[in-house]
Subunit: 740 residues, 2 copies
């Protein structure tokens, strides 16, 4: 492809740095060669390419100038280069208009973006949610104008010219980073680095799982790829290492990640902080690695790499594509200055001149429009073809089709909630982590898209699905996910699974304190509306001897403060079942379940309906909504509140006990309900929770008392710590007496 | 060393798995060989070994039984094996007594622990804080009984026999995971996996930095190693990948990490989730990698590996030591069942029998005691020798010695706070991130231990120290740390630096929202009392177009809920300087500074003294402590509160404006002060903060109003978002009027 590289482009492209030891040919398995690869086509790939004529791009451009293209040469540029420059300038122009954004990545990645969206990927622009579409994730989310430009050219209604002109403006569909909830066609929300590639691992896992579960001989009803573009920043983040280690372990052969190897990050050349051998690391992780040396104009190299990647079906592939950030900008290319701000009018002009682009901002020429316009009928045809295939499948495999349909549509099988276990006060005392396992196993039986696992704590979190085996490279139809000690990637992978199809309900688990390791992924679940269930056990000092490194204190408060998260802390079996019911229903809000390590009795008065209201009365011996005192608790401390109430009642007090299993659900109730639970004129209120008191003032009021823990925990048997920290019945009784 | 392996031990040791491709000899550089290595001794190593006679260990034991050792053979065990078994049984017995803990790692790692503490490391047990000691970090912190047993044998007063018997009990010095603040001799707090190795990178960085800054020809006053033991769990965590990538980049040659390669994690064999090629990954990260195949009894292999590691001075070394978890336990070794719970009386007996250990629990024989007792005089001699060396150094290099002394003791140079910049209301409006940079540069001039950097956002966080270059492999004397996009490791590395010497004041930076990526390290700073300064810019929707993925909402609340963290949100230059003063003084409490991207005016009435009180009146036109209304704000919203006050005053209201720069500091003031700022009978109170309102009720009271943001942000110009979200002067004025 050197023939398509103009002289000025050849000069502005950065020279390969010394630490790139390998090249495309170097990485080819000995049994493969580039020429033989062109004959290797997966069924999906051949379907795609047979419908498309790839524009030739071997035109040689003459340019007498070194620093800028001879404008007359622009008439010779091929359609594909025109299309690629269209992408570059849509990005340049949108960033310029907003005077905010990241032009550098789109300018460098436009060629790979073009090959993906115009030649390789299967999608239906008029139905961005078509189930069997290929998924694309821009893990380097700051380069979102690349994706917006591609969606626009490909015919997605979500990104019109008007939308491009409203880049980064209030209520636009083109926000500053890709957001799935704003822009159909965007699969997941990215920006925080490394999240996207971990999401992509989840998307690819979902595909592999569904394909193994539902495909039949001659009926490959699930068959699509997951593509991602990751930058140097993503590569440095630990979450991407965790996720990519799992992708290699799981052998996700249909995951193809492009590494935009441009050697520039915000602080300058990546050499100042990032000199590891990325290729070798990915080989160590079990990936196939390919190097495309010329990502700026090497279309054939990019195509060959994708063909090769598809031919390797037992490993994910990393295609390292060496590009020039800000390619085409004469004075800013290959520098951090083009990463994250507008080029400025003068440099935009210089870039227009350099790339031979005389057009007004946001220009898309008719021939480029025409070239891309075929994606609308082609996409419709792809979906129609698949629909016919599915109809045939449905006839042959009724039960499987029903299950798959539930996953595709998100419609839960009717009566699913009846599968949840029920408890009475006669039920034996048990830890809510164990009760949680009963719920997980009950739900997995009736919800086709229910799957998940733990970060190497399955036997502590109690998260194994007993009727299923482990999802592994060779058993991808199974539903127990084994994440290893990789909390952050676990969360992000589950977000990816949830975003694959509406009927997926992934859960994942670790100790509650280790939400600190995965907080970024939990926030992304909340923001991107991924209904993941976070099963968090060992939820207080009640875990005992492991000590303060393992004992959550501020975690309940910290999640109560986070938008769009349901923080649930059930007190017994009934409340645990209620929490799972709520969590399974809330498909656009992640739920965190805080569960005990220690045994808890089944309490009188708890109910699923109560859980649904977040806060409710479990017992009351008062009259006319006027108790002497209201005691409140959550989780393992509700038992303490109930026992304190018993004692106070013996002494003649009228005591109400309220379970506050979820603040968010309670706060969403009508005022009348809230008043019925917490009458304003009852100011004698005591809360007890083995965690920070931060925020409890809202319920106990200025005249009440919050019993909790506002220091770090300690290493000792649980009962001893409860006693020493004053999380006791006696403390509640004393506080209640002092107030009422 | 196969000669020292008994038959039963050889059988219970697990066979090498197929993915171990390399061996010790394989990894030797071609110019080195094992025999030549024995002659290679660093100065420190020769000092150590010249004083010690390593007990021979080539005794061949005969054993007729396969499953258990012939008891008569126990009389033949060499002293070193006796010592190693002492470590194993101290761990077994302590866990058994507590009926809680992790015996598996200590049983497997006892040999490497023994070689380190008895033969290799330089320390003074009677002064655990001797500056030039070698540092040891048990990154796999659950195996803490290994460290407690070693500290006990080595003569540390912090771990007596009584302490061992109180393992995991209330107020003991032997908590469930290693805690530096409980147990002198423990350098950092570990348990949450991956933290320890990242801390170790910080410790090794600190040594390399100080050595480069202070050593003189013939006066190597800083010269020690950092050793760590990491487990499979640590290896899976992203934070360890981030930290180890940096260690390789920085060429931390005196960092030597032992990888306890035992193939078992909590969920069983690591094969279910962890099949990457760890050796190859570390080579890709620029580490020297050595494999000790027989970590159970291969003392000479371990010794040779350490010699080799010391000979490689330009790279950190990973010594992969293949061990058997729970080595010696006939029925539980090499299984997850020995990882995290007591063996049980029966298996303890079987293990005693198998390892030929007829002794009562907690037994340390006289010959073993005698063998270890030399560390007390030797350690004292090492320190005395160093003290003499330092006295000589002080005579020759007065200024350098004074600087180093400040770092060693933590005594800050007198008058350092006068270096902080001062501002007046005439000072130009500026972003607090820029004002922060002025403070950072001012402090670096006067505080010898001040150093830090950003996670690839130096030019956005404004954290460069202008008078210093970059800390790099070949310029380790410099003080700008370039962490790359590795927030989590950045925090943990800074924790390690802080724990190296009391006078180190490390700072680190990213966008405030990305505290989510490093929350575990911030919590560890808080718990382990590391006075790191976390410089967090772009602290609200005020960052504008980057959108909700980049806009913190719940973060202020989430850190206000965390114990032992100072959350500071200064409003202008004066408050920023005040925040740095407080942060620099609080050496056992980390501080988080939330700083604005946008320009803010220097406000009338702000003061450093006010910041020190956390909340204080910046303006008031009321009389007799009875304003009509109190307006409160923090950071960028204090300006809005001040402007609203101006408007209200024009309308005749008596208005007080309170800056709430740090809740923690305010809450620590006496009640009388609090009452003087927030008089109880003034209930008309309005707070404004561009973040979650969670928790503000505490200050605004039940009759006040908290203006904030309880949803995710949005992508648009900052001014527009403020307006749309109602974070405006008008909203404050309206709220104030409705209340007063």
């Amino acid at each position: 492809m050197a023939t398509s590289l103009s002289l000025s482009q050849a000069i502005s492209a950065r020279t390969s740095s010394s630490h790139h030891q390998s090249s495309l040919s170097h990485h080819l398995p000995s049994s493969l060669s580039l020429s033989s690869l062109s004959l290797l086509k997966s069924s999906s790939f051949s379907l795609k390419t047979s419908q498309r004529v790839v524009a030739p791009c071997a035109t040689i451009r003459a340019s007498s100038a070194v620093d800028s293209l001879d404008k007359s040469a622009s008439t010779e540029v091929t359609l594909i280069e025109k299309s690629v420059n269209t992408i570059r300038f849509l990005a340049i122009d949108a960033v310029e208009k907003a005077n905010s954004g990241h032009p550098g990545l789109p300018m460098g990645c436009a060629p790979m973006g073009h090959v993906l969206y115009d030649e390789v990927m299967r999608y239906n622009p008029k139905n961005p949610y078509w189930f069997n579409r290929d998924r694309f994730v821009l893990s380097a989310g700051h380069g979102c104008m690349l994706q917006y430009a591609l969606l626009h050219l490909a015919g997605y209604d979500s990104v019109t010219e008007e939308d491009l002109k409203n880049f980064r403006q209030w209520e636009s569909r083109t926000p500053g980073h890709p957001e799935n909830f704003e822009t159909p066609g965007v699969e997941v929300t990215t920006g925080p680095l490394g999240q996207g590639i971990a999401n992509a691992v989840g998307l690819a896992l979902a595909e592999k799982h569904l394909a193994a579960r539902f495909n039949k001989p001659g009926a490959e009803i699930v068959d699509h790829y997951t593509y991602a573009i990751v930058g140097d920043g993503c590569q440095m983040e630990g979450v991407s290492q965790e996720a990519c280690s799992l992708a290699g372990h799981w052998g996700l052969g249909k995951l193809i990640a492009f590494y935009d190897d441009n050697h520039i990050s915000i602080d300058g050349n990546t050499d100042i902080a990032f000199t590891e051998d990325v290729d070798k690391r990915f080989e160590a992780l079990g990936w196939h690695v390919i190097w495309v040396k010329n990502g700026n104009t090497g279309y054939d190299e990019i195509r060959a790499a994708i063909r090769e990647a598809k031919a390797v079906t037992d490993k994910p592939t990393l295609i390292k594509v060496t590009t020039t950030i800000g390619y085409g900008s004469p004075n800013k290319a290959n520098s951090y200055s083009v990463h994250g701000s507008a080029l400025g009018a003068k440099e935009v002009e210089a870039t227009r001149s350099n790339l031979g682009w005389p057009h007004e901002p946001f220009h898309v020429s008719e021939d480029v429009k025409k070239h891309w316009s075929r994606h609308t009928p082609e996409g419709a045809a792809l979906e129609a073809e698949w629909n016919a295939k599915f109809a045939e499948y449905e006839r042959k495999y009724k039960d499987e089709a029903a299950e798959l349909k539930s996953i595709i549509t998100g419609e839960l099988p009717s009566g699913w909630e009846n599968a949840l276990p029920t408890y009475t006060t006669e039920s034996p005392a048990d830890a809510t982590r164990n009760l949680s396992q009963q719920c997980l196993n009950a739900l997995a039986k009736v919800l086709p898209g229910f799957l998940g696992g733990s970060a190497d704590l399955a036997s502590s979190n109690m998260t194994l699905l007993k009727m299923f085996g482990n999802f592994q490279k060779d058993t991808p139809e199974e539903r127990n996910l084994r994440f290893g000690v990789r909390e952050h990637a676990m969360g992000s992978i589950c977000n990816g699974i949830a975003h694959h199809s509406p009927g997926f309900i992934p859960y994942c688990a670790t100790f509650f304190v280790f939400t600190d390791y995965m907080r970024a992924s939990i926030r992304m679940a909340a923001l991107s509306q991924a209904g993941v269930i976070f099963v968090m056990t060992h939820d207080s000092i009640g875990l005992g001897e492991d000590g303060p490194t393992h004992q959550p204190i501020e975690h309940l408060a910290s999640f109560r403060a986070m938008p769009n998260v349901l923080m649930l802390r059930p007190a017994d079996g009934t409340e645990t079942a209620g929490a799972y019911k709520v969590a399974a229903l809330k498909r656009k809000t992640p739920a965190i379940l805080a569960l005990s390590r220690q045994k808890l009795p089944q309490l009188a008065g708890t109910s699923v309906e109560g859980v649904e209201k977040g806060g409710y009365v479990i017992s009351d011996n008062s009259k006319a909504n006027k108790p002497d005192v209201i005691l409140m608790g959550t989780g393992s401390e509700l038992e303490i509140a109930a026992k304190a109430a018993d004692e106070l009642r013996k002494e003649g007090k009228a005591v109400r006990v309220v379970s506050f299993v979820s603040w968010e659900l309670f706060d969403a109730q009508p005022d009348s309900y809230k008043e019925s639970v917490l009458p304003s004129d009852v100011t004698a209120r005591v809360s007890i929770e083995a965690g920070s008191t931060f925020g409890w003032l809202k319920y106990v009021g200025s005249k009440g008392k919050a019993i909790g823990i506002d220091r770090f925990g300690a290493s000792a048997p649980a009962g001893k710590i409860y006693k020493e920290f004053g999380i006791t019945k006696e403390a509640v009784v004393e506080a209640a007496k002092s107030l009422s």
